[in-house]
Amino acid sequence: MSNPSETGNAGTMGQALKEALFAGVIAFGMFLLFVGIETYQDINNALVWRTRWGLLAIFVIVAAVGRFVTVAFIKPHIDRRKLNKAKSGVLEISDKKSFFHKHFLKIALVLLLIYPFLSLMIVGKQGSLKYVDNFGIQILIYVMLAWGLNIVVGLAGLLDLGYVAFYAVGAYSYALLSSYFGFSFWLLLPMSGILAALWGIILGFPVLRLRGDYLAIVTLAFGEIIRLVLINWTDVTKGTFGISGIAKASFFGIWSFDTGATNNFVKAWGLSASSVYYKIFLFYIILALCMLTAYVTIRLRRMPIGRAWEALREDEIACRSLGINTVTTKLTAFAIGAMFGGFAGSFFATRQGFVSPESFVFLESAVILAIVVLGGMGSLTGIAIAAIVMVGGTEVLREMSFLKVVFGPDFTPELYRMLLFGLAMIIVMLFKPRGFVGSREPTAFLKERRAVSGSFTKEGHG
């Protein structure tokens, strides 16, 4: 990684040792109660606590050693690389791009299209359930939600902390209308979107005059209101029990995926019974929905309304002085963002077959917002990558049994999900403060395209 003769500098080493000690002390302070002490119930149901000094020691050592390695080796290495680059005069922007870079999106799309079959081939039917459902569908739902929220937060710059409310509206619209009236998925999908959009407008009206933190608080409250209504309106929503037995989506009414049905997909095609076919079908539905979201976002960005959203994010007063109606601009952003949340919600309901208010807590909003911010506000590719890392990462955590070797046999990585989530966010924000893809791609050019790196642009006011 680095050249030992150059890092052998005594000053750097001393500095590294000092910082490592410091990091260790901080880690000790932070994790003392968090990791070092565990509470549990004994046989008499009394809450007692025991200490876990060993685990705490491992945490502290990891922090100290990590800091030492960073300061002693990684940082000098990065500095040297930067210095060399500056000396040789090579800027980080270059016109030449590799084949992979240029065709990245096409390659990604093709990979996604063959993904379910690939997993069928490699791990078989039973194994595919995990890869298609837990990874594929789960990640794509979050990609779709994050792309929907991106319209509100990334493009229009309206900080929305209650986005999960629209997801809930979509999910319950499908769950209720399908169980009470027996409407099909393909009818209810657009309807859920429209209903969510309607709620988006209803939320939009009172918050038109708010910006920034104030807006965030009101939207947060809105998300909670929807959740509390779902919990307390027991006559309709069955409260915390949730609604179960939600109808599966059919293959456009031609084939059904219900095992008892005469036009069962598996029977019609003479396949051996497995739920993997339904999962693959769902995978393609959510993939198509994601593509729709991306297509609409890309198209809208080039249209006056999309441009108006971006202008609104940059400067509201300037917008008004240019004749942009900020009221309709904000409302459309809320409505369209909410609509995609609604689509995702109704898909979620049909995939789970069960909805309850527990799926729509604030944490979900926070995760979706985190994905948007980490990905780089406004960048579809960045957001998709962030969704894969964050959602896929939590799924991968379940598989990380080798961590038990380091942290002892009692260590369950899933429980540290939020800790790692936070750590990942801090790391990304330290090294890429504008998200994975931080630069905004211009949508209009006079004659030629010219690249200007995002690092040249100053955030804030002109």
Binding site: P304, R307, E310, A311, E314, D315, I317, A318, R320, S321, L322, G323, I324, N325, T326, R440, P442, T443, A444, F445, L446, E448, R449, R450, V452, F456, T457, K458, E459, G460, H461, G462
Partner: protein
Amino acid sequence: MAGETLLKVQGVETYYGNIRALAGVDIEVHKGEIVSLIGANGAGKSTLMMTICGSPQARNGSIVFDGEDITQLPTHLIARRRIAQSPEGRRIFPRMTVYENLQMGAGLDNLKFFNEDIEKIFTLFPRLKERQSQRGGTLSGGEQQMLSIGRALMARPKLLLLDEPSLGLAPLIVKGIFEAIKKLNQEEGLTVFLVEQNAFAALKLSDRAYVMVNGKVTMSGSGRELLANPEVRAAYLEGGRH
């Protein structure tokens, strides 16, 4: 020079909450004129500019533009009557390119003149042409001011409102921008209403001018008259030139 009245502000009072920022202002701008409004900090110059644009709206009095009362119209509709503003502090869109900024100015209804108009602005401010693919936030202050004026011009305005175009700029750049304004006025007959702290430059440029103190217009006259006026000289010119 003085043609028919384009903008007539009569007895306008504007409040921020309970504080009266404008205490009955009367101003007239005729077609083809450059009119400037000078005054100290907090005199209400920018408030008047914003009131003409409907944000905040005047509590009393009337604002008539091109024969139509616009006092109660929302801001975006006022802008669509072709009153374009280059706001105080320039307020360009920092993360959009120069080209996109200019596109925003063209609004929704005159994209058909777009190529013609943008060429005109690039001739007026060649610097913008050089920097068209650059993000607004990366421009220097002077270039941002040019962009702000260019963006306002893209709306094909009947009346151009400029709020402190010289703010924070070097004298040479201010000179260039004021020359461009003069050129627009003489060649295209553009009507300009200008708010300035830089009284000397503004008065030299203007056909007529108003002096504002504490939310009231206290003096008016031709630019030359006011330049010669001892009171104006004492209050706004002598101090500023040393």
